[in-house]
């Protein structure tokens, strides 16, 4: 049977349909995904608010990020994701909250929301707009956020965008991405015209500039002769989003969180879109060639690729030698779990387990296509399952996020934070691939590992 029930899940047998061991006899099967979590199963999932506020809206650098609800949900995403920006880090340094209290729960929070928008805009006149995010409570008490946003926008003379993203909606943070896309598309896209248009205008969609990822890929696109109108939403201004309808092509990196807006633009403006990986050397080269072909920029692009590869080849070869035969477990939100298997193989590593927090069917189809038979694929995994897999597969490396990081260390498994990197720079494109490899090398070969005692072996 290609669907297997982990030992730790004997008492929650529903988990079996989420765990698929890729089998040559049933090679196109995918695990059941994008359904509600089983209560108490120690899921790693977040909420719709987190997906909207933290991933899609949060990176926009020149707007007031105002959370409508009790204080906690304003605090937790405060500079938690390093979606850095050039010129300013206003969006990382500052968080705004209506800080709803018990009387607001009883009598409503619309007045407090209106006053909060006015006060914030007054305190930071340089801000170019206000994003307002609903939390669970804002959703429950039924505040008409959209009406308040309209009134406040008139008063401050700047866009005020309300996102209907209370945490209890949907089954994971994934719905928050959708809400974020849809809201920005309806309320912001197409509201401004660029001063200059070129035949080579593109948007880089679903790319959030984690520790400077964008700055590794944008210079390459420019060197190819392209002009990027908007990176949705890394290092992004609200004015860039307003102009993104003028692009000739949407290049989509994180298809899970941002294919929505690309598809909406296709329908309304006829803008074609193209999915890319942009992680790993071969995948990045293939992606750039695909984009070049669309615009007829092949010759220039080959030069860019050759130059980039020449710069990293020697050091990369050193790492590849060091990674031979090493095994890895990958757990990411969605697309990075299908961006990375081919990349890990390129580095000479063997993938044992791939999992996603909120992948949909399309994500699992891509994963299944890209991994070898015998690879375990887990949907919406939980802590006991990770513990079991670390003991069972004894991977040389676990790539996940900060919540899994210290668990991995307690099992003596080297770890890399694939969500926020915790490194000096991004992991994207060619130089990022080198940085990724360097960080893997440092994780695997740290002398610290040799000092761990095993008290059972000692006896």
């Amino acid at each position: 049977m290609p669907l297997i029930l982990p030992e730790c899940d004997k008492v929650v047998p529903e988990r079996q349909k989420h765990v698929y061991l890729k089998d040559i006899r049933d090679p196109f099967m995918i695990p059941v995904c994008n359904i509600a979590t089983i209560p108490g199963d120690m899921t790693e999932r977040g909420c719709t608010y987190a997906g909207c506020r933290g991933v899609v809206g949060g990176p926009v650098k020149d707007v007031i990020q105002l959370q409508h609800g009790p204080i906690g949900c304003a605090y937790y995403p405060w500079d938690a994701r390093p979606h850095v920006a050039s010129g300013t880090n206003f969006h990382l340094a500052n968080v705004f909250s209506t800080d709803l209290r018990e009387p607001n729960i009883v009598f409503g929070g619309e007045k407090k929301l209106y006053d909060s928008i006015i006060e914030s805009a007054k305190a930071f006149p340089e801000a170019q707009g206000v994003f307002v995010y609903a939390t669970c409570v804002a959703g429950l008490i039924g505040d008409d956020m959209e009406a308040v946003a309209k009134r406040a926008s008139k008063a401050i003379g700047k866009p005020v965008v309300a996102f209907a993203c209370p945490g209890f909606r949907g089954v994971s943070q994934s719905l928050g991405h959708h809400v974020g896309n849809e809201t920005l598309f309806k309320q912001v896209v197409g509201t401004e015209e660029p001063t200059q248009k070129t035949p080579y205008d593109i948007n880089l969609v679903g790319e959030y500039n984690i520790r400077g990822d964008d700055w590794l890929i944008l210079p390459l696109l420019e060197a190819m002769g392209l002009h990027v109108v908007c990176t949705f939403t890394g290092d992004c201004s609200i004015h860039d989003i307003a102009k993104m309808h003028t692009a000739k092509l949407n290049v989509v990196r994180c298809a899970r969180s941002a294919m929505y807006i690309a598809e909406m633009m296709k329908e309304k403006y006829g803008t074609p879109n193209m999915e890319v990986d942009l992680y790993g050397i071969q995948q990045t080269a293939d992606d750039l060639r695909q984009i070049a072909k669309f615009f007829g920029l092949e010759a220039k692009t080959e030069e860019v690729i050759a130059k980039e590869i020449a710069e990293i080849k020697e050091e990369m070869d050193y790492y590849k030698e060091k990674f031979k035969g090493k095994t890895v477990m990958i757990y990411q939100g969605g697309p990075r779990s299908w961006h990375w298997p081919s990349f890990m193989e390129e580095l000479g590593m063997e993938i044992k387990v791939v999992a996603t927090t909120f992948g949909h069917e399309g994500d699992y189809e891509k994963i299944v296509k890209r991994v070898k038979p015998g690879t375990l694929i887990i949907d919406n995994p939980n802590a006991p399952e990770f513990e079991e897999m670390m003991l069972k597969y004894k991977p040389d490396l676990f790539i996940a996020g900060v919540k899994e990081k210290y668990l991995s260390y307690k099992y003596g498994v080297p770890f890399l934070n694939g969500h926020t990197y915790e490194s000096k720079g991004g992991y994207m494109a060619f130089k990022g691939a080198l940085g990724f490899a360097r960080d893997i090398y440092q994780a695997l070969y740290s002398p610290a590992w040799r000092f761990i005692r095993n008290t059972e072996e000692a006896q």
Binding site: C47, N94, N104, I105, L140
Partner: protein, 443 residues
């Protein structure tokens, strides 16, 4: 002294969290425990992420995963299923059911649901203790969440049997290193204590294989039950423990002793005097040596610290403790800010300022404030040093003022959680950091 209460509707850069994270923290100090948050998935994921970054330890929190359906029909079936799954799969000694703004607004009666669960599942209920904690996120902050959690454990678990000759210590939201320092002082005094609760090992665990299912250490459920039989309870941080101390006094006649966080000289002395009062034990020579080493360090550095202007912010107990210690060092706490709307904070600060005879007009006490407010005040009246958690870094950078990191959370540096800031030895450590930071900034 000017007391500033919140004047705006909007909170801008408010370094405060919601009640559930305080209750999660309190639970993690119990051996073999699983905090179960009754809310949206983010209500567990967000606190886990932050606690992980602060402690650099695995933090496991369960969630009932409430969705649209539960907001209409209630979350009882989710809670029942979650309890069943956790007990069967992990066999914890304690599960704490922690509410959120979501489940409080929909009006789930967690006490009733858990009572019915126990009645319907006697076999499961016999395997794990369940404590129910109301922590609506729209009331108070994480500080109140911790206070409510310890109170719930004391009310629901403490059982009178026979005197144990121990004292109860409620540490508050301090470092694992601080708890170890409390233990060190009590060991020197030959006093046995029950810690409500004890994160010293659960959130600062040795790395050795094989990994145990739950981290070793932590207060056992039996110890919490036994807290009804102690000589007295010391709530080390009054905002984070007084409710439980009062419950134990009212219900089980265990004398409650509500104190100030022992930062610096006088507060540490008061702590030891309180231990003496409850146990009759004398302060031994070795602790007096530690005291006088602190005096030595204070005298050595007095010409550097004297007159240094500081801004202090944090949870009320930490902010007050820091302000008091800076007074002892001859520093001037020009701006003192706490995010918690404490009813006693301003009057406590006033008494302190009077005691030290400082110029009252210049001093700002901000209650229930945020870092935007503090930043404005620092611009009006600059300081030499900021003391607070890592969110102070944005003001520090913009104003080019050094930041000494004290309080929760510290997500951008290593080792804070290991350190003790309280007691004589912790105070020496903190003093060294303060004085060296001042010196470096002037070089």
């Amino acid at each position: 002294m000017t007391v500033i209460n919140k004047t705006r509707s909007v909170a801008i850069n408010a370094p405060k969290m919601c009640q559930p994270i305080g209750a999660i923290w309190a639970t993690l100090g119990v051996h073999g425990s699983v905090p179960l948050v009754h809310g949206s998935q983010g209500c567990a994921t967000y606190p886990r992420n932050l606690l992980g970054r602060h402690f650099r330890e695995p933090v496991e929190v369960a969630i009932t995963s409430l969705h649209e359906k539960a907001t209409i029909f209630g979350g009882a079936s989710n809670l029942n299923l979650a309890l069943t799954n956790i007990i069967q799969r992990q066999q914890p000694e304690l599960i704490t059911v922690i509410t959120t703004c979501l489940s409080e607004t929909t009006g789930d009666d967690i006490h009733g649901i858990v009572k019915a669960f126990r009645a319907e599942n006697p076999e499961l209920a016999a395997r794990s203790k369940i404590v129910t904690i109301n922590t609506p996120s729209y009331v108070g902050t994480h500080v109140l969440g911790y206070d409510n959690a310890i109170k719930a454990m004391a009310s629901q678990l403490a059982t009178k049997t026979k005197p144990n000759n121990k004292i109860n210590i409620i540490p508050g939201m301090v470092n694992p290193g601080d708890v170890l320092e409390l233990k060190h002082m009590l060991e020197l005094m030959d006093v046995e204590a029950i810690y409500l609760t004890d994160i010293s090992k659960t959130l600062n665990a040795p790395l050795r294989l094989p990994k145990t299912h739950f981290p070793s250490g932590g207060t056992t459920v039996n110890q919490i039950e036994d807290s009804a039989n102690s000589l007295g309870t010391i709530a080390v941080c009054k905002h984070e423990g007084q409710a439980a101390a009062n419950v134990l006094q009212e219900k089980h006649a265990v004398p409650a002793c509500i104190t100030e966080l022992p930062f610096g000289m006088e507060a540490t002395e008061e702590f030891l005097i309180n231990v003496t009062k409850l146990t009759g034990k004398k302060v031994p020579e070795r602790l007096l040596d530690e005291r006088d080493l602190l005096v030595d360090a204070m005298v050595d550095s007095s010409q550097i610290t004297f007159g240094t202007k500081v801004a202090v912010f944090g949870d009320p107990d930490i902010a007050f403790g820091l302000a008091r210690f800076t007074y002892e060092l001859g520093m001037q706490p020009i701006h003192v800010m706490t995010t918690f709307e404490s009813s006693t904070f301003a009057s406590d600060m006033k008494a302190l300022a009077t005691d030290y005879g400082t110029d009252e007009a210049k001093q700002n006490i901000i209650v229930g404030g945020d870092l935007y407010e503090l930043h404005l005040k620092i611009k009006e009246n600059p300081v030499d040093l900021i003391i607070g958690d890592y969110k102070g870094k944005y003001i520090a950078k913009e104003e080019d003022i050094p930041l000494v990191r004290v309080g929760f959370p510290q997500a951008d540096r290593f080792g804070y959680q290991r350190k003790a800031m309280l007691g004589f030895r912790g105070s020496i450590q903190l003093l060294d950091t303060l004085v060296n930071t001042v010196m470096e900034s002037k070089e």
